[in-house]
């Protein structure tokens, strides 16, 4: 078998000799930097008051009723973070990261969007604007543009999600790809794409990704039985990202958070999903071990959910919620919040956890202090209408 480097070298040789009339192929290994950033979108509205219960808030238990997570130390109780907050018991693998100083939690956070539509809220989360936009360019795509353009980004999706969409080409990959068509056929098809740039670029990127995967033998690995529902994608991503030639910025998404009914408390529908998510993150951390000290993972959702249960044992669309930061590059454990409280008069519109932290300030701080983009560029070209949004200091270990 020809390795990727030999194969690429062969192609470059042909290009140099003018024998191959194809446009140069997308190549990953151009980045001057080796830091990794993974952005996980939790689609559907993760219930922050369940995932990170504010067990120290005097109003929490009464307000949440049957959905309340018990205090640390009680049966099925929360896993303690500090005297105000705990983790949902299904998130035990994250608690280990907390003790290792590799987990931070952001609470009472949201985008600037307030109107409780999934689709608009996700649009704002991904475009990084003040309100929904039809422009179709995500903030991570703009950041990739500043980092040097194509070859750095990968979305674990069939097509790039909005946050990764835009002028900079990104790769996409989905767990479980098969052996695929022959190189002969793909070369012929590529000629049919000569006057269709979008097809040509997508095919070139897909071929490079497949080559990388062939080396890592990720396909064989992701076919292992008995892994959790989410784990194969996370493990596949890890094996791509730990490779020197692999992507530096990646997105992943986890769906199923829209728990309108029967969401449960310490056990139940939401607990199962939280458990799968935590298991997948633990697998990611393990497989990223060689580069974990250079990695930050941010997981955020489009909105939190109503503070009180609805009439059907679940929660409806709300406003502020919780987000997670994980990684060996973090400056220790921490809960980042300006906690608004849960008394009725402190709830947003009398029903939702009130937003006090703009999620964009977290994203922007990671871009500045971890990815290494200049603050001025972040303000003028990534989060362009965030005004004088503050950055969060000391997020990243320097």
């Amino acid at each position: 078998m020809i390795s990727a480097l030999n194969r690429r070298g062969l192609l470059q040789g042909l290009l140099g000799a003018g024998l191959l009339a194809s446009v140069p192929r997308f190549a990953y290994a151009k980045t001057p930097d080796d830091r990794r950033f993974i952005f996980i979108i939790l689609r559907g509205g993760m219930d922050g008051l369940a995932a990170v219960p504010p067990v120290g808030d005097k109003d929490y238990v009464a307000l949440r009723g049957p959905l309340a997570i018990a205090a640390p130390g009680q049966a099925d109780g929360a896993l303690p973070l500090d005297d105000r907050f705990g983790l949902h018991p299904a998130l035990a693998p994250l608690h280990a990261l907390w003790h290792a100083g590799q987990l931070q939690v952001v609470h009472a956070a949201s985008t600037p969007y307030r109107d409780r539509s999934h689709f608009d809220a996700q649009n704002v989360l991904e475009t990084g604007g003040r309100g929904p936009s039809g422009a179709g360019v995500g903030w991570l795509n703009r950041a990739l543009g500043l980092m040097g353009g194509s070859g750095l980004g990968l979305a674990v999706n069939e097509a790039a999600p909005l946050v990764m969409s835009g002028p900079t080409q990104v790769a996409t990959w989905v767990s479980g790809s098969g052996a695929g068509p022959s190189d002969y056929l793909l070369d012929a098809i590529d000629r049919l794409y000569a006057d269709s740039p979008a097809f040509h670029a997508a095919l070139a990127t897909a071929r490079d990704t497949e080559q990388l995967l062939a080396d890592a033998d990720t396909n064989a690995m992701t076919r292992q039985r008995g892994l959790g529902r989410l784990t194969p994608s996370f493990k596949g991503l890890a094996s791509l990202m730990r490779d020197d030639r692999g992507p530096r910025i990646a997105t992943l998404e986890v769906t199923g958070w829209d728990t309108h009914s029967a969401q449960g408390a310490a056990t139940g529908r939401l607990a199962v999903l939280l458990g799968q998510f935590a298991d997948a993150l633990a697998a990611l951390r393990k497989d990223l071990d060689p580069v974990w000290s250079k990695t930050i993972v941010v997981a955020a959702t489009e909105f939190g959910r109503t503070a009180a249960p609805n009439g059907t044992g679940g929660t409806d669309h709300g406003t502020a919620g919780a987000a997670f930061l994980l990684g060996g590059a973090l400056e220790g454990r921490r809960v980042i919040t300006d906690w608004p409280g849960l008394s009725r008069d402190r709830l947003y519109e009398g029903r939702d956890l009130a937003p006090t932290t703009d999620l964009r300030s977290i994203f922007a701080s990671v871009l500045r202090d971890h990815v290494g983009l200049p603050e001025a560029d972040i303000r003028s070209r990534v989060f362009v209408d965030a005004g004088q949004m503050p950055f969060v200091a000391d997020l990243v270990r320097v």
Binding site: S196, L203, D316
Partner: protein, 445 residues
């Protein structure tokens, strides 16, 4: 073979079957108008009540310990079996259809009113929902379509309505149960007015209250669910929805509310935008949207008239490759191009293929349905899988096919002479067919 026939067969159809392009060449628009007169195809699949019985039989098997929730993938799981029958029948219907525009409308409106098997309760109902709540109304009045879709058990299940209880209803006062806003919100946001269509949180709650009562109506020890209106769950009192007072009236409130929403100018604009995006361009031209919205309002939501107006748009006949085919459309188009030599892609394999292409049948990721812009379907991995699907089908079906005839019957009207020569010169027949299927001319519509 005309370019307009190509557009009629692809933009408004499901890809040409052998001979279809020449049949359409005389009067493409007239042929499409004829297709609109077609109705749902008869079937021996169970109706809504029968599908609910199938769901009940799975429950009964679980109650008797014959299977548990982890066994849902088992071939004798009656719900899985029904789902696969529905998917296969839908595929066969699309592949054989002589009125593909009608099928496209069913797919469009079924996506507009998404119910997804992402919720397990929807699995036995998604197919019958499309056949009984959507298909009969796609050239009728939108109000009827909206009412049928909103009140079908599949929708009541998917968006949690069946659990919602009016807090001041008889059941609400007796039990610790209350409102669920999910269906009310999505009817306003996704199905009628659209985002920015002039409603607020108060309207969401008002519609949620109006909708209380549509639920499971229990009938003895039967394991099947029966759906209907239960006045004991309905929130009493008048309600105000988008500025209009709706008098207390039990289930009539829902019909009054949906009638108001169906006639709202925001609904006209929202539906027109989606239709033009689907049939004309990812970024719908404003003039075209206004024209379609005007027809909608003038005809009181006559979807036959609205569809004819979309066909009448000049913009719809400008760029033959303005849109990406969805994975479903693409797979159907390949089977149609082969003239029904589609045995290679039915049943569980079809399901696996479509899931791999990012569009599991009846499995949209959210109530907003499948996305409808080219960029949503043209990711690198997705394109590779599309190429792979075409190559696989070509390998299985290729030996019996005439490459030149396939080319003429599909993409020849929009292919450059150089590309035509290149494909005809392919090293082997299967590769040539795979190249046709992979070409931008075949992948787009």
């Amino acid at each position: 073979m005309s370019r307009e026939a190509f557009i009629a067969a692809n933009r408004f159809g499901l890809g040409p079957r052998p001979g279809e392009l020449s049949a359409l060449s005389g009067d493409p628009r007239g042929a499409l108008f004829e297709q609109l007169k077609s109705g749902p195809v008869p079937t021996d699949l169970p109706g809504t009540a029968g599908a609910l019985d199938v769901a009940g039989s799975r429950k009964a098997m679980m109650a008797e310990g014959k299977m548990d929730a982890n066994d849902d993938g088992r071939p004798d799981n009656p719900v899985r079996e029904l789902y696969l029958r529905e998917v296969t029948a839908r595929f066969d219907r699309c592949v054989a259809s002589a009125a593909p525009l009608h099928d496209r409308l069913v797919l469009f409106w079924s996506n507009h009113f998404t119910v997804s098997v992402a919720r397990s309760g929807v699995v036995p109902l998604a197919g019958v929902f499309e056949r009984e709540a959507i298909a009969p109304h796609v050239t009728g009045r939108f109000e009827d379509l909206l009412t049928a879709a909103t009140l079908h058990p599949a929708m009541l299940t998917y968006l949690d309505q069946y659990r919602s209880v009016g807090p001041n209803s008889k059941v609400g006062q007796r039990k610790d149960a209350g409102l669920n806003e999910n269906l009310g919100r999505e009817v306003l946001e996704l199905h009628t007015l659209g985002v920015g269509g002039g409603y607020g949180q108060g309207d969401v709650i008002a519609l949620a209250r109006i909708l209380t009562g549509w639920s499971v109506v229990t009938g003895g020890g039967d394991t099947s669910k029966r759906f209907g209106f239960d006045p004991n769950r309905h929130e009493p009192g008048d309600k105000t929805l988008v500025g209009t007072r709706i008098r207390e009236g039990g289930e009539q409130e829902t019909r009054d509310a949906l009638a108001i929403l169906a006639r709202h100018p925001s609904t006209a604009k929202h539906l027109a935008t989606k239709l033009v995006r689907h049939f004309v361009a990812d970024d719908p031209p404003a003039a075209a949207v206004e024209a379609i919205a005007a027809v909608y309002l003038k005809t009181d939501g006559d979807l036959g008239a609205v569809t004819r107006a979309v066909i009448g748009l000049d913009a719809a006949w400008a760029d033959p490759l303005a849109k990406m085919k969805t994975p479903w459309e693409l797979t159907v188009a390949m089977a149609r191009a082969l003239g029904g030599e589609a045995a290679a892609i039915d049943g569980p394999l079809l399901f696996r293929r479509l899931r791999g292409l990012g569009q599991a049948p009846f499995g949209a990721p959210s109530p907003a349905g499948w996305p409808d812009r080219s960029t949503d379907w043209l990711g690198p991995d997705a394109l590779m899988r599309r190429i792979d699907l075409g190559a696989d089908i070509a390998n299985k079906a290729g030996a019996r096919l005439d490459l030149a005839a396939l080319l003429d019957g599909t993409i020849a009207p929009v292919l450059t002479p150089a590309k035509t020569q290149f494909i005809k010169g392919a090293g082997d027949r299967a590769s040539g067919i795979a190249m046709i299927f992979a070409s931008p001319e075949f992948q787009q519509r």
